[in-house]
């Protein structure tokens, strides 16, 4: 009788209980999921940085072209379109395997009176370019502003 008890104690000390197994499986599961979520989060951050970079490029392109308009064209209703669209992946000459998912940025350009409390404020305009897109269900927006003046614009076109 004494020997039987001793043997039973020995056996229980070598085996894992169901609870121990469940805890270890849960810990391993949490580790795997954490790895996956961490990597997915890294991809998300990089992706957002790339989309931000492209949004800035699009806004900057519009800002650059503002310099090519005359003062009359800036003030002409409709000469500069108030809205535009631009792809994330613009068409590139010679590109044969464009398999990237290319979503579209939506943008708008507003031209307002300059918020300048001065006598020459009527000779200035505030131009705002806003770019909007959606990233993982979240609406994102970037915007740029510049002031243009009547005598700072180009005054000839040939």
């Amino acid at each position: 009788m004494h020997l039987t008890k001793k043997r039973a104690n020995k056996i229980s000390s070598y085996a894992f209980t169901l609870m121990e197994m469940l805890v270890s499986v849960a810990i391993i599961g949490i580790l795997f999921v954490s790895f996956y979520v961490g990597i997915a989060s890294g991809f998300g951050v990089v992706n957002l940085a790339r989309e931000n970079l492209r949004a800035n490029q699009i806004a900057l392109e519009k800002m650059e072209t503002i310099r090519l308009y005359t003062w009359e064209q800036i003030n002409s209703n409709g000469f500069i379109p108030p809205t535009f669209t631009a792809p994330f992946h613009p068409p590139v000459a010679g590109e044969t395997n464009n398999t990237n998912s290319s979503f579209v940025y939506y943008g708008n350009v507003t031209i307002e009176n300059a918020p300048v409390a001065s006598a020459y404020s009527n000779n200035m305009r505030l131009v705002t370019v806003t770019v909007l897109w959606t990233n993982s269900g979240t609406a994102r927006t970037r915007s740029m502003q510049t002031l243009v003046s009547e005598h700072g614009m180009q005054n000839y076109i040939y």
Partner: protein
């Protein structure tokens, strides 16, 4: 009596220490599954980190090249010649040349101080030249194909890529910019 007890203990100990074939096969199966899962996770992690690193590297290089080109083209005196793969502008009375070689996939900048590599691993790059007059109702300008010296705006678009683990992972970066020459 003593002998019988000793004999029983020895037999039971032997049964504890051994494994049956079924136990062994189950152990090998579980071990294999765990090892396979760890191997897949390791490969996935390495590839993912490589891809993220490639994207960051591409964006860094492209941003640097674009900043540098924008700064110098804006400051140039005017366009001397422009083709799909080459742009020559006058920069402080000297020729500043940007050349894209599709064979080596490299974009270089050549000035009086020598030749510098701006981009590597460039699959495609295009220069386009436009005049100053905008098209009504669009954000476009008329192309300056006949008189290159009338060029006021340069558009440059490129696509760069890196491969990882052979061609299993291909990371791309597309950049596009319109640069208006200020002095022209």
């Amino acid at each position: 009596m003593e002998c019988k007890i000793t004999s029983t203990k020895a037999r039971s100990l032997r049964r504890q220490s051994a494994t049956t074939l079924v136990e062994f096969m189950i152990g090998v199966s579980i071990g294999g599954i765990v090892l396979a899962a760890i191997a897949m996770l390791t490969v996935y992690t390495v590839r993912s980190f490589g891809a993220i690193s490639n994207y960051v590297d591409l964006d860094k290089d492209s941003r640097f090249a674009l900043d540098r080109m924008s700064q110098m083209i804006r400051e140039s005196d005017g366009v001397i010649s422009c083709s799909t793969n080459e742009l020559v502008v006058s920069y402080h009375a000297n020729n500043l040349t940007y050349t894209y070689n599709p064979n080596t996939r490299i974009l270089t900048q050549t000035y009086t101080n020598g030749t510098t590599t701006l981009l590597e691993g460039c699959d495609s790059l295009t220069f386009e030249l436009f005049q100053r007059n905008p098209v009504n109702g669009t954000y476009d300008q008329y192309p300056a194909t006949l008189i290159e010296s009338a060029g006021k705006m340069v558009q440059v678009t490129w696509i760069c890529s890196r491969t990882l683990v052979g061609s299993l992972v291909n990371t791309e970066s597309v950049q596009s910019a319109k640069i208006v020459i200020r002095k022209q």
